[in-house]
């Protein structure tokens, strides 16, 4: 088929691809975003999964989005309305108690006081210390990881800046940062607090989306990375009117306004390489698009081992990339409900604590046992759940009086003993039964459920291994090592081929950080 030459082609219109497209367009280039699905968004989409019921299909809260991206893309002008409820998270306990944490630290402390006065007194200080450390990490997340072999003067400068920011923390917090990073999040939470429910809800942040249990060393790092974008100790609830799809729709609108072109229903099946440089892409229709540069929002394995002929890469690189760890642990279940479930822990019919995230996993050991099953290839029979009921804050998502509930279920290992297709319904059943322990009338209200297994995440959403962060978040796959040591600077061994997805630094969550960093580096290269 006739080929056309473009400036820049971006494979995949997920949030990072769209952010990269925006910044390149703003710099005067004419990027073309090629999205396989009928709508942009990748893992941040809203679908009608039952007539009249719409829900964030995968991601249900934002990372949150980096303030610089909100500002540069003027997302609110492009129709985004963020919803940040006062309540961040409500943790439920099977003994009928609930602990809600609010944006306001003092209000949270009051809630905690019902469990432990000691913890209530410690909570604000913990929040402050975490906030200070997170701020320093946040600065590191916004930089391009330095080149380890040949640090440039710019690299040295940014390392110096990070070093100075770390130094400003003072000795105590500096050592905290060094000590906390490699720790188990269970140890971190237990060191600070005595209330098991509080420990568990904080620890959950360190294991969400990873193949780690709260007792796994290094899980505290995951907490710190997440805190960098969101310093609330247990994480806030960054929702959007219209679900997460509204976020990416606004990003797409901003990118288009800046001059980017977006084509949906355009599936790239191959990245063309000639003499060690990317020359364009081949679509499933046979159409070939030539480009001066190709940027991939797909994960590193998919980009370099599937879309690219690996013979263009050195065997050593291929081997390392094959070892890049990324076996997912998360499944998603979305429920259409004929009414609001009644949670036994909420007294006096007060539903406001349900507006944020709902956390199920009342003890560190509960979370750890859930993880144990995944290690041996089973999904957790008593899973850790993170749920939202977005129709409470945005009634347009469901018919009047009805609700949608979006649930992350962990652990659901990608590598299952047995077949995911056969166990799909058992997984949905487990989620509903677990919820019913806290809201007994939920099964009666259930109209339908949508079950997304890790295998679906791979097959339908292109996430290799079903890993929602495009690769495990761990010490050995972070910063200068994401995705691989020496290849953390958005470039690949193939010239003119770049990465901009979550498999690059900083990764993790719907923040747009990777896309913004990638755009900055690619612009530098293009100007050469």
């Amino acid at each position: 088929m006739a080929s056309q030459t473009r400036d820049i082609v971006i494979i995949g219109g997920g949030h990072n691809g769209l952010v990269t497209a925006f910044y390149l367009a703003k710099a005067g280039y004419k990027p073309l975003v090629l999205e396989r699905s009928a709508q942009v968004g990748g893992a941040a989409v809203t679908d009608e999964f039952h007539p009249g019921f719409r829900c964030s299909t995968l991601a249900h809260t934002a990372g949150p989005i980096l303030p610089s991206i909100l500002r540069d893309l003027q997302l609110e002008k492009h129709g985004l309305r963020l919803i940040t409820p006062d309540v961040c998270v409500t943790a439920l306990s099977p003994d009928g108690r609930a602990l809600s944490l609010y944006q306001d630290s003092d209000k949270s402390a009051q809630e905690i006081a019902a469990f432990s006065r000691k913890d209530a007194a410690k909570y604000p200080e913990f929040g402050q210390s975490l906030g200070k450390i997170a701020k320093v990490i946040g600065e590191a997340l916004a930089t391009t990881p330095p080149d380890i072999d040949h640090p440039s003067s710019g690299d040295l400068w940014s390392m110096l800046k990070t070093g100075r920011a770390i130094r400003k923390l003072g000795t105590k917090d500096m050592f905290r940062l060094l000590r906390w990073g490699p720790m188990a999040v269970a140890d971190l939470a237990s060191e600070c607090f005595e209330t098991e429910l509080l420990r568990a809800v904080i620890a959950a942040r360190g294991v969400f989306g990873t193949f780690l249990g709260p007792w796994s060393a290094g899980s505290a790092l995951v907490l710190l990375i997440r805190a960098a974008g969101d310093p609330h100790p247990a994480g806030s609830a960054a929702l959007a009117a219209g679900g997460m799809g509204a976020v990416t729709q606004a990003m797409a609108s901003a990118a288009k306004a800046a001059g980017a072109e977006i084509r949906t229903g355009a599936e790239v099946i191959e990245i063309r390489v000639q003499n060690g440089a990317a020359t364009g892409v081949l679509l499933s229709t046979g159409e070939e698009i030539l480009a001066k540069a190709v940027i991939s929002n797909a994960d590193p394995k998919r980009t370099l081992l599937k879309l690219t002929d690996p013979t263009h890469l050195s065997p050593d690189f291929v081997q390392k990339l094959q070892h890049y760890r990324g076996n997912g642990t998360v499944a998603k279940v979305n429920l259409a409900l004929s009414g609001l479930p009644k949670f036994t822990a909420l007294k006096n019919g007060d539903t406001s604590p349900l507006k944020g995230r709902i956390h199920i996993g009342h003890e560190i050991d509960y979370l750890e046992r859930a993880f144990d099953e995944a290690k041996y290839g089973n999904f957790s029979r008593q899973p850790y759940l993170e749920a939202t009921i977005p129709s409470l804050t945005d009634p347009t998502l469901a018919p009047e009086g009805k609700h949608v509930m979006s649930i992350y279920m962990q652990y659901a290992p990608y590598k299952l003993k047995g077949d995911w297709e056969e166990q799909r319904n058992a997984l949905g059943q487990t989620v509903v039964e677990t919820l019913a322990q806290y809201a007994p009338n939920l099964p009666e209200l259930l109209l339908t459920h949508q079950i997304i297994t890790p295998l679906d995440l791979e097959e339908k959403y292109g996430l290799t291994g079903g890993q929602i962060f495009h690769g495990e978040l761990a010490l050995d796959q972070f910063f200068t090592m994401r995705p691989l040591l020496d290849w953390a600077r958005y470039r690949t061994p193939i010239e003119k081929l770049y990465l901009c997805g979550s498999g690059t630094h900083p990764g993790a969550g719907l923040t747009g950080g990777s896309g913004a960093n990638a755009a900055r580096e690619i612009l530098k290269e293009l100007k050469k």
Partner: protein, 475 residues
């Protein structure tokens, strides 16, 4: 009675102390034998060709990778060794001497090939199994190799950070040869005796049965010690080789120490996870998979048949139980050193993990001691059924025994867990990794300091060098 093999003893210490002249003789321990429930086994020996053929019997690919792995590990050891022999820098000061140390490490890292850098970074951060998965496919090989990644830690083979411990043990070197473990003739007690002899010859006076009850502190200075019999001994320098919990919370009154420091001391994790079972035997164990006596009994015998077996052993411990099917590392020293048992009889020394110091509520170690011993015997009997008939005597050492009788807090054999957040400049207390303490003239020189536990001796040497520096500075 507790330690059973030597390997981590630093060669410079063997040399400086001239330990062979003081009666230390190391008998090599040849290989590791891993029996499997299937009736098969994996038997690695020091003979390269034999090991290659043995691994190839399980997987040809792994046999090739095994050599590569050995080379890669050697490169890692070369990088880490000088770091083990240095006083950790303080990363928070701007003192040029401290910065130079950091620079030294940075330069050494820079100097490595990109292949070695990649391995090094992974080794510092990954789990033993994730690391080994990249090299090998044979489950039993990975399981038995990963075992050294968990010894003395409260971590599982899949816990990040265990790859480093793997290296820590890989560094075993005797007389400068990499990766060779051995027995001391007469038991590991012979090492301490040889070191004591060397010390005496150099002018040290040693008093045994002299328990300490207090360290005398006046005006934030250590002045001496009080013995448990009430005697007071005054000294210019006090150096403590016991762990920080004993040193700072038992021997010193809280009022003498800054609150932050005490908080950090209390936070230091011990979490003993292992026990010992020693047996006097009327003969040799007879393994189903390789019947009769033979060379396979002269090395280490490892009960680590699969990765899942190892991980499940850990799962039990996480919830406060000893492993129902524990990892056991056995040696029969009487085969190499007949002096330790009457003719025809043998000694079997078993290192057992996991035996968590903190059992779940309702259980105590004094009640569980014999059940733990039985579990060990039953586990061995699955592979060598005659074991039950030849036991003359059994000694069970629980983590609680290690604490009560050997003064190891929570029964941790390394005086504190070897986890990343407790290594190098964070060991034992952030900001106090240079063998000094907030109390003047009081020093730490035990395993709780950098570079950690194992019979290494490096801690004592580095502490001595720092103490000498202070004395000379004051003079």
């Amino acid at each position: 009675m507790c330690s059973y093999v030597v390997s981590l003893l630093r060669p410079e210490i063997i040399r400086d102390l001239d330990l062979p002249r003081h009666g230390l003789e190391i008998l090599p321990l040849d290989g590791t034998f891993t029996p499997m429930p299937s009736g098969d086994y994996l038997w690695r020996v020091n003979d390269h060709g034999k090991t290659h053929r043995e691994i190839a019997r399980h997987s040809r690919v792994d046999a090739e990778a095994y050599d590569e792995f050995g080379k890669a590990m050697q490169a890692m050891c070369r990088f880490v060794k000088p770091i083990l022999s240095m006083v950790p820098p303080d990363p928070t000061t701007l003192d040029p001497r401290e910065l130079m140390k950091l620079l030294f490490i940075g330069r050494r890292f820079q100097g490595m090939s990109s292949y070695d850098k990649y391995n090094q970074v992974q080794l510092m951060t990954m789990s033993a199994i994730d690391f080994l998965d990249q090299w090998f496919e044979t489950d039993v090989l990975k399981a038995t190799m990963s075992a050294s990644g968990i010894i003395g830690t409260f971590l599982g083979v899949r816990s990040p950070g265990t790859a480093y411990v793997l290296l820590h043990h890989y560094m075993g070197e005797i007389d400068g040869a990499f990766r060779a473990w051995g027995f001391a003739r007469g038991g590991t007690g012979a090492i301490s005796n040889a070191i004591a002899d060397a010390a005496r010859e150099a002018g040290v006076e040693i008093r045994t049965k002299a328990g300490i009850s207090q360290i005398i502190v006046k005006n934030v200075k250590a002045k001496g010690v009080v013995l448990s019999n009430g005697d007071e001994i005054y000294a210019d320098v006090v150096s403590s080789s016991v762990d920080p919990r004993l040193t700072f919370t038992k021997f010193i009154e809280a009022q003498h120490l800054p609150g932050d420091f005490l908080e950090d001391v209390n936070r230091f994790k011990y979490r003993g996870s292992s026990g010992k079972v020693n047996m006097a035997l009327d003969g040799l164990p007879n393994f189903k998979c390789m019947p009769g006596p033979g060379a396979h009994l002269r090395g280490a015998i490892s009960i680590s048949p699969s990765v899942e077996y190892m991980e499940r052993a850990y799962d039990d411990a996480k919830y406060g139980n000893f492993s129902r099917h524990p990892y056991i590392d056995m040696v029969i020293p009487s085969l190499t050193d007949p002096s330790v048992a009457p003719p025809g009889k043998h000694v079997l020394s078993c290192f057992v993990q996991y035996a968590p110091y903190k059992l779940r509520p309702g259980l105590t170690w004094d009640d569980q001691k014999e059940a733990f011993g039985d579990t060990v015997v039953n586990t061995i009997a699955e592979y060598a059924p005659n074991i039950k008939d030849i036991i003359l005597h059994r000694q069970v050492v629980t983590p609680l025994d290690l604490e009560r009788e050997w003064g190891l807090s929570e029964g941790n054999i390394f005086q504190g867990e070897l986890s990343l957040e407790q290594l190098f400049f964070l060991r034992p207390v952030p900001g106090w990794a240079q063998y000094r303490t907030p109390i003047k003239n009081l020093y730490m020189c035990g395993s709780a300091t950098h570079p950690g536990g194992g019979i290494m001796g490096a801690n004592g040497r580095l502490a001595a060098l720092e103490i000498l520096k202070d004395i000379k500075g004051a003079a």
